[in-house]
C-alpha cells in the first residue's frame, strides 16, 4: 500500500507540469502569474527529489552501471544540446513552445537520473557527513535557482538589496561551487576498479570531459529552457556544472591512481588468492587436490606460464611431481624420467628460494631445461617445515627476467601454505591411523574380556567371586574356572603373563586354551603345570614367562589342591584364626626353565576346607599398586585388608579389596592388571 502511494507521489510532479502548461495557456501577461509558475515548478522539482534518493536498483547493479549511465547520458545529452542550440531560434523559445516544454522536461529528467547515479557513486564508502553534504547541495541549489529564476527584481526590493544583485549572485554561486567540489571529492569507487577498468575509466573520462563542460556552457547561456522557465534554466545549469566538476575531479583522481593501479591490482589478487587458498586448506584434506589448488593459484597470481610442485619421497630419497599447471604430457613423462633431486642437489640443498632469470644461459637448474625447453626464467621455492625441506614449488615463464620481487614473495607465501597443507594432511592421516589402532585395541580388549568366564561357577557349598581389571586395553592377567565332570571338582586358575599389552594378551589367550585342555585330560595340578611348562617354554620368547596358580577344589573330599608356578602366594582366611595364612609352596614361573628344574621344584599343596574359610588368589597388580607418593600397596597391606574383611560374603570382600586399593592409589594411573579370585566355603553342615 505504502509503495503504491509513493509511486503515486512520483506522478505528482508530472501533474504539476501539466498544471504549468495550463497556466501557460492562461496568459494574463502579468508578472505575478510568472512568479506563481516558477514557484509551482520549484515545488515540482522538489517533489521529484525522491527520484534521486530512491534509485535503489543501483545498489544491486554496482557502480559500473552508474558509470556507464553517466557516460552515455552525458554524451547523448550533450549532442542533443548541440543540436538544439543549432535550431535555437525565436520560434521555439518562449513559455508556450512545445519544443521548449519537451526539451525542458527531457533535461530535468536527465538531471534527476544523473543525480541518482552520482549520488550512488558519492555514497560508496559513505561517512556520516556524506549524505548530509549531498542533501545540502541539492536543497541549496534548488533555493538559489529559485531565487535567481524568479528574477532579480524581487531581490532589489528585499532588505538584502544593499549588497547588490551581482554580489548576491556571486556569493550564491561560490557557496554552491564549494559544495560541488566537496561532494566531488567522494571518489572512493575508484579504489574498487582493477587496472583495466581504471584505464577504461580514464580514457572514457577524458572523452567525456569536453562533453560535460560543453553541456554546462550550453545551459549557462541563453537557451530555450531559460526562456521556458528561468528557475529550471538556472537549476539545470548548476546541475551540469556539478556533473562537470565531479567528472573533472574524478579524472584527476584516476590519473593519480593509474601508476599504482598495477600494484594495487596485484595486492588485491594476492590477498584474494591467499584467502582462497587458506579457505581451501581448511576444508580440503586430500593432499593431491590441495597441491593442484596451490599450483593453480600460484600460476594465476604470478602470471606464470607453468607451475609445478614436487615433494620429497622420504623412502626413495627422490622428488615426486605431485601437481602441475600447464605441463604437457610429454614434459611430465620426461620430468619423471629425470631425478631432479640427484642432479640439482647442490643447488636445492641451499634451502633458499632460487630465482633464475636466464635458465638457458646459466648452468644453474639446467636439469629443468632438459625436460622443459621453452623456459626463460624460473623460481624454485623450498617447502620448509620445522625440521626439514619437504619439497619444492616451481614457477616458470617463457620470458627471461619474468619474475619480479613481488612474484617471489608471493611464491614464498604459497610455499608456506603448501607446507601447512602437507603437514595437516600428514597429521590427519596419523590421527586416523591412531583412531583405527585404538578401535582395534578396543576390539582386542572386548575379545580378551570374552575369554574370561562370563559368570561365576556354581559349586555346591562354595561361593566364588572374581574380578579382573586391565591397565591397558589388553593385558596379561587372566583367571578361569574349569568344571571337571566327576566328583564335584572345579579347577581354578589365576595367571599373569610377563610384560604388558598385546603381546602379553596373546600369550594369555594361548595359556588359557592350553590349561583348559590339559585340565580336562590330566586334572591334577602338578601334572598339568609340568606339561604346560614343557609346551609353553618352547613357544614363549626367552624373555617372557607366565606365573600361575592352578588349584582344584574337590567338593566331595572338601579339599583344595594347588600348585604355585612362580605366582603370588595364596592367602587363606580362617574363621577361628586372626592371622591370614600365606601359603607359598615352591615352584618356578612357567617359561623360566624348559623342564627338568621346573619339574623338580614344583610342589603340590593341599588345604582341607571347612566352612567360613576364604581363599584369595591375586596377581601382583594388587600388591604393586602405587599411591601418588610412589609407595607400593604391598603384600602386608593386602593381608591386613583381607583380614579385616574376612567375615564378609565373598562379593563384599572383593569390593572391599578393590575399594581399599582405589583409596590407596588415589586414582593415580593403574600400572598393571589387577585380578582377584575368592573362594569361600559356606556349607555350614559340612564337618571340618
Amino acid at each position: 500500500m505504502k509503495r503504491t502511494l509513493s509511486k503515486l507521489i512520483l506522478l505528482l510532479p508530472f501533474a504539476l507540469f501539466v498544471a504549468v502548461i495550463v497556466l501557460n495557456t492562461l496568459d494574463f501577461g502579468g508578472g505575478s502569474i510568472r512568479f506563481i509558475r516558477e514557484a509551482v515548478l520549484t515545488v515540482a522539482v522538489w517533489l521529484c527529489f525522491p527520484i534521486i534518493f530512491y534509485q535503489q536498483w543501483r545498489d544491486q547493479q554496482g557502480n559500473h552501471n552508474s558509470l556507464r549511465q553517466i557516460f552515455f547520458l552525458l554524451i547523448f545529452t550533450s549532442l542533443l544540446a548541440f543540436a538544439v542550440a543549432r535550431i535555437d531560434s525565436a520560434a521555439f523559445a518562449g513559455v508556450d513552445s512545445i519544443v521548449a516544454l519537451f526539451w525542458t522536461l527531457y533535461s530535468i529528467s536527465v538531471v534527476l537520473v544523473l543525480f541518482g547515479a552520482f549520488r550512488h557513486l558519492i555514497h560508496i564508502k559513505r561517512r556520516p557527513a556524506t549524505a548530509r553534504n549531498f542533501k545540502w547541495m541539492l536543497y541549496l541549489q534548488l533555493l538559489f535557482a529559485f531565487l535567481q529564476g524568479t528574477g532579480t527584481q524581487y531581490l532589489k526590493k528585499s532588505p538584502l538589496s544593499w549588497l547588490g544583485t551581482e554580489a548576491l549572485l556571486g556569493v550564491m554561486t561560490f557557496i554552491l561551487v564549494v559544495l560541488f567540489v566537496t561532494n566531488s571529492f567522494r571518489v572512493s569507487w575508484i579504489h574498487y576498479l582493477n587496472r583495466r577498468q581504471k584505464l577504461a575509466c580514464f580514457w572514457g573520462g577524458l572523452l567525456l570531459l569536453p562533453f560535460a563542460w560543453q553541456l554546462f556552457s550550453h545551459f549557462s547561456q541563453n537557451n530555450i529552457v531559460k526562456t521556458f522557465s528561468p528557475f529550471l534554466g538556472v537549476f539545470i545549469c548548476y546541475s551540469f556544472l556539478f556533473f562537470a566538476i565531479y567528472c573533472t575531479l574524478a579524472l584527476f583522481s584516476l590519473i593519480a591512481h593509474l601508476p599504482t593501479a598495477h600494484l594495487f591490482d596485484r595486492k588485491m589478487k594476492e590477498l584474494e588468492s591467499l584467502y582462497a587458498l587458506s579457505s581451501t586448506l581448511s576444508v580440503e584434506f586430500d593432499l593431491n587436490r590441495l597441491a593442484r589448488q596451490i599450483v593453480k593459484l600460484a600460476a594465476e597470481v604470478t602470471e606464470s606460464d607453468c607451475c609445478w610442485l614436487e615433494l620429497i619421497d622420504p623412502q626413495k630419497q627422490k622428488l615426486d611431481l605431485v601437481a602441475w599447471q600447464n605441463l604437457s604430457d610429454n614434459e611430465q613423462a620426461k620430468r619423471r624420467a629425470y631425478s631432479t633431486y640427484e642432479h640439482d642437489i647442490e643447488e636445492l640443498t641451499q634451502k633458499q628460494t632460487i630465482v633464475e632469470n636466464q635458465v638457458l644461459r646459466n648452468k644453474r637448474l639446467r636439469t629443468i631445461s632438459r625436460w622443459k625447453s621453452n623456459l626463460g626464467s624460473v623460481v624454485v621455492v623450498p617447502l620448509r617445515s620445522t625440521q626439514q625441506t619437504i619439497g619444492y614449488l616451481y614457477a616458470g615463464k617463457e620470458a627471461t627476467f619474468g619474475f619480479e620481487h613481488e612474484d617471489v614473495e608471493l611464491l614464498n607465501a604459497f610455499a608456506a601454505q603448501a607446507v601447512i597443507a602437507v603437514e595437516n594432511t600428514k597429521l590427519i592421516e596419523s590421527s586416523m591411523l591412531k583412531d583405527r589402532l585404538e578401535h582395534e585395541l578396543r576390539l582386542a580388549h572386548d575379545a580378551q574380556m570374552n575369554l574370561l568366564p562370563k559368570e561365576m561357577p556354581k559349586l555346591p557349598g562354595f561361593t566364588i567371586e572374581a574380578v579382573c581389571k586391565t591397565a591397558n586395553e589388553v593385558g596379561g592377567d587372566y583367571y578361569d574356572f574349569i568344571p571337571l565332570d566327576r566328583d564335584n571338582r572345579l579347577v581354578v586358575t589365576v595367571g599373569d603373563v610377563s610384560g604388558k599389552g598385546a603381546e602379553a594378551a596373546f600369550y594369555m589367550a594361548e595359556i588359557k586354551g592350553m590349561i583348559g585342555a590339559l585340565a580336562r585330560t590330566l586334572g591334577e595340578p602338578a601334572k598339568v603345570l609340568k606339561k604346560a611348562n614343557r609346551i609353553i617354554s618352547k613357544i614363549l620368547e626367552s624373555n617372557h614367562f607366565i606365573t600361575l596358580i592352578y588349584g582344584m577344589i574337590d567338593g566331595k573330599r572338601r579339599c583344595f589342591t594347588f600348585c604355585r608356578a612362580g605366582h603370588c602366594p595364596l592367602l587363606l582366611a580362617e574363621p577361628d584364626r586372626d592371622e591370614i595364612r600365606v601359603i607359598e609352596p615352591r615352584g618356578l614361573g612357567v617359561g623360566l626353565d624348559d623342564g627338568p628344574i621346573f619339574d623338580t621344584k614344583l610342589v603340590e599343596e593341599q588345604i582341607d576346607l571347612c566352612p567360613g574359610q576364604t581363599l584369595l588368589l591375586y596377581t601382583d597388580g594388587a600388591t604393586e599398586m602405587r599411591n601418588p607418593a610412589g609407595e607400593e600397596f604391598g603384600e602386608k597391606r593386602l593381608v591386613e585388608t583381607f583380614a579385616s574383611l574376612k567375615h564378609l560374603p565373598a562379593a563384599q570382600i572383593r569390593d572391599g579389596l578393590l575399594a581399599a586399593i582405589d583409596r590407596f592409589s588415589d586414582k593415580s594411573t593403574v600400572h598393571d592388571d589387577l585380578t582377584f579370585v575368592l573362594i569361600q566355603v559356606i556349607d555350614k553342615s559340612a564337618l571340618c
Binding site: S498, K500, E541, S542, T547, G566, E584, L592, K601, E624
Partner: protein, 126 residues
Amino acid sequence: MNNFQVIRNDDDKVTTLRIAGFLDAHTAPMLEREIEKLLEEGRYRILVDFAELGYISSAGLGVFMGYIEQVRENNGDIKMCRMNDKIYRVFDLLGFPTLYDIVTDEEMARAKFVQSSQGRVDRQDN
C-alpha cells in the same frame, strides 16, 4: 620421574652393571641395549648390582632371562648381588634363586665367578 640408569664398570674379567631406579617395560630396553653391547664385546661375565634399584617389573625380570642362555653357552654367567628385600621377594616368588646366583655382596659374586671358571678348568683337565 623414576629414571632408570645403568652404570657400567669393567675390570679384567667381570663387568659390573649398577642399575638404579625403575626397571619396567619402558626402561627394560635400556638394560637390554647395555647387555647386548657387552655380548658384542665378548664380555660374558656379568655382575648386576641391584643396590640402587627401586622397582623391577616382570618385563625387567625378562631381560635377564632373555640373555642367560647365550651368556652361559659362552662360559659366562649373569650373577646378581645386593638386592633389597622387596626386589629379592620378586625374584624369590618366581623361583629365580634356583636358576641364578643371587648373593648378598659383590665380593662373594666375584669369588663365585672365579670358582666357576676354575671348576670348569678342572673339569676340562680331567
